[in-house]
Amino acid sequence: MTARSLIQRSCALLGLLALSAFLFYIGKGHTLLVDTAAVTIDGREYSSAETVSVSIDGREPESMGRAERTMAQVGGPRHRITIEVVSGGGQKVEQRFVIPTFLDTALVSVPAILGGAPRQHWVTKFVAPAAEDAPAEEMQQQEQSTVLAAPPAIKP
C-alpha cells in the first residue's frame, strides 16, 4: 500500500467516524414528558393556565389541563414547542429548546416556558419517583401465597 492510498483510506475512515458521530447526535431519540404542573424556580412559582394546547415540532396539538403530563417521542437535539392558552387570554408562545444528547427522558415544563422562566429550567432530567418498599399489590400476593402454602390441618 502506497503512502498516498494509506492517507486516502485513513481520511475515508475518519470521515465515516465523524459522520457516525454526527448521525448519532442528530438522530438520538428522546422521550419528552410535557408537564403542566406548577414549578418553583428561584423562589418564584410558575403555574399553568386552566387549559393549554401544546404541540411539539408542529405535530397535532394536545389539550392539557393543570398538573397533567403527556408523552412525545422525538429524535435529535433541537425542538420547537407551541403552547396556546385556551382558557382565557389566548396567549400563544412558540419556543425552541435543546435536549442534551444523553438525556433519554426529559421533562418539559409548560408553566416555565409560558411564564418566561430562565431557559435552563425549561427542560430537566426526569427522575422516576422512588418505588415503595412493599407496594400494596405485592403485599396482597405475598398474603395469598402464604395462605396457599399453608399445609392443611390433618387430624389424627
Binding site: F24, K28, G29
Partner: protein, 363 residues
C-alpha cells in the same frame, strides 16, 4: 424459426412457468386490483435493493451469491445497535448502514477468500457458508450481546440478562425511508425515497460496469484463464465482487427491515438469500447472466405470485396454508429448475460444439 422458438422457451422457462402460475391463480384469488398494486409498489421498494446485490457476483462468473445472507446479518447487527442506542429516523438507518459496512466488508472478504478456494462450486460453498456463519451470528446475538458486547436497553435483552430477544421492534425507524417523500396517487402510497435509493444503486451498478474494475469482473466472468493471462488479478477481482455484493446486501436488508418495522433476530436473514435469488431467476436471469430489468421484473412477478397464492389456495381448497407451502415450493423449485436448466444448456452447448468440431453439425 422453430429452433429459435425452442431456444426462447428454454431461456425463459422459469419466467414462463411463473407467468402461467400467476395467470391461473390471479382469477381464482379474486383480490382487488388496488390491493395488488399497492402491495407490489411497497414490496418493490422493500426487496429490489437486495436483489440488486446479486448482480456483481454473476458478472464475475461466481453464480448466484447465496453468501448474501452474511451481508443481511451485518445489516441486522447494525439495526440492533441503533435500536439499543435509541437512534431514530433517517440518521438511525444511515448509522445502521455505516455500522454494517465494516462487518459486511470483513464477511465478504472471508467469503471471497473461501470461494477462491472452491472455484466452480461457489454457489454451494456460499450456501453452506451462510449456514456456518448463521451459527456464529447466533452466538453473537444470543450469548455475546449483553454479556461481552454491552447492551444499554434492557428491553432488548432476554429475561436471563444477556442475548437479544427474538423480536426487536424498529419503532424509531419504521418506514423512515418510505415516508420521507410522501406521495399518494389515486389512493396508492408510493415509497418515493426507497425508489430513489434503488435507482441510485442501479445507476451505481451501471456506472461500475464501465470502470476498470467492472470490466475486469466481466472479463473474469467470461474466462478466468484468459483474464489472468491479460494481467487481471483474478482472485482479487472475485473477492471484490463478493465484498461489494455483501455490502449491498447489508444495506438492502436495512431497507427491507425498515419497511417491515421489526426484526426477527434469529430468522429474518435466513430466507433472504433464497427469496432474492428466486426473484432474480423468475425475472429471466440465469446463473451466468443477469440485468437490472431482470431484477425489477423478477421482484414484481415473485411478489405477485406470493400475494395471490394464499388466497387462491384458500378459494380452491379452503385453506390459506396451501399458499404458504406454495411459496416455499416456488422459491426452492425455481432455483432448482434454473440450476438444472443451466447445467442442461451447458452440456447441450458442449455436445453441439463437439459435434461441430467432428463436422457433423449441431446435434
Amino acid at each position: 424459426m422453430s429452433s429459435r422458438l425452442r431456444v426462447f422457451f428454454i431461456d425463459n422457462a422459469v419466467a414462463i412457468l411463473i407467468l402461467l402460475l400467476i395467470a391461473f391463480a390471479l382469477p381464482v384469488a379474486k383480490l382487488p386490483a388496488s390491493f395488488l398494486i399497492q402491495e407490489i409498489l411497497m414490496r418493490l421498494g422493500r426487496d429490489t435493493f437486495l436483489v440488486l446485490a446479486l448482480l456483481l457476483p454473476i458478472m464475475a462468473g461466481m453464480g448466484l451469491n447465496f453468501g448474501m445472507v452474511l451481508g443481511a446479518m451485518a445489516g441486522q447487527l447494525g439495526l440492533i445497535f441503533i435500536s439499543d442506542w435509541g437512534i431514530v429516523g433517517i440518521p438511525g438507518l444511515l448509522l445502521a448502514m455505516i455500522i454494517s459496512l465494516p462487518i459486511s466488508v470483513v464477511l465478504g472478504w472471508m467469503c471471497g477468500m473461501i470461494m477462491n478456494r472452491a472455484k466452480g462450486r461457489e454457489m454451494v460453498t456460499g450456501f453452506i457458508l451462510a449456514f456456518f456463519m448463521n451459527g456464529i451470528y447466533m452466538m453473537i446475538v444470543l450469548y455475546a450481546m449483553g454479556s461481552i458486547i454491552p447492551i444499554i436497553n434492557p428491553e432488548l435483552l432476554l429475561s436471563r440478562g444477556y442475548g437479544i430477544r427474538n423480536v426487536v421492534g424498529l419503532d424509531g425507524v419504521r418506514q423512515a425511508f418510505d415516508n420521507l417523500i410522501p406521495l399518494h396517487v389515486a389512493g396508492l402510497k408510493i415509497p418515493v425515497f426507497s425508489y430513489l435509493i434503488i435507482a441510485a444503486g442501479a445507476a451505481l451498478l451501471i456506472w461500475f460496469r464501465s470502470t476498470k474494475l467492472g470490466q475486469d469482473m466481466r472479463a473474469v466472468g467470461q474466462d478466468r484463464g484468459v483474464s489472468a493471462s491479460a494481467g487481471i488479478p483474478v482472485e482479487r477481482t472475485r473477492i471484490l465482487a463478493i465484498m461489494i455484493s455483501t455490502v449491498l446486501a447489508g444495506i438492502g436488508q436495512i431497507i427491507f427491515l425498515q419497511n417491515l418495522g421489526t426484526i426477527n433476530t434469529t430468522s429474518s436473514h435466513e430466507q433472504i438469500g433464497m427469496f432474492s435469488i428466486a426473484a432474480l431467476l423468475i425475472g429471466g436471469a440465469s446463473v451466468t447472466k443477469a440485468s437490472i430489468p431482470n431484477v425489477i421484473i423478477g421482484v414484481i412477478l415473485f411478489h405477485l405470485l406470493f400475494l395471490v397464492s394464499p388466497m387462491a389456495g384458500k378459494n380452491l381448497i379452503g385453506s390459506g396454508m396451501l399458499g404458504e407451502y406454495f411459496r416455499q415450493f416456488v422459491s426452492y423449485g425455481v432455483i432448482a429448475l434454473a440450476l438444472v436448466l443451466y447445467e442442461w444448456k451447458r452440456v447441450t452447448r458442449e455436445n453441439d460444439a463437439r459435434a461441430t468440431l467432428r463436422g457433423g453439425g449441431a446435434a
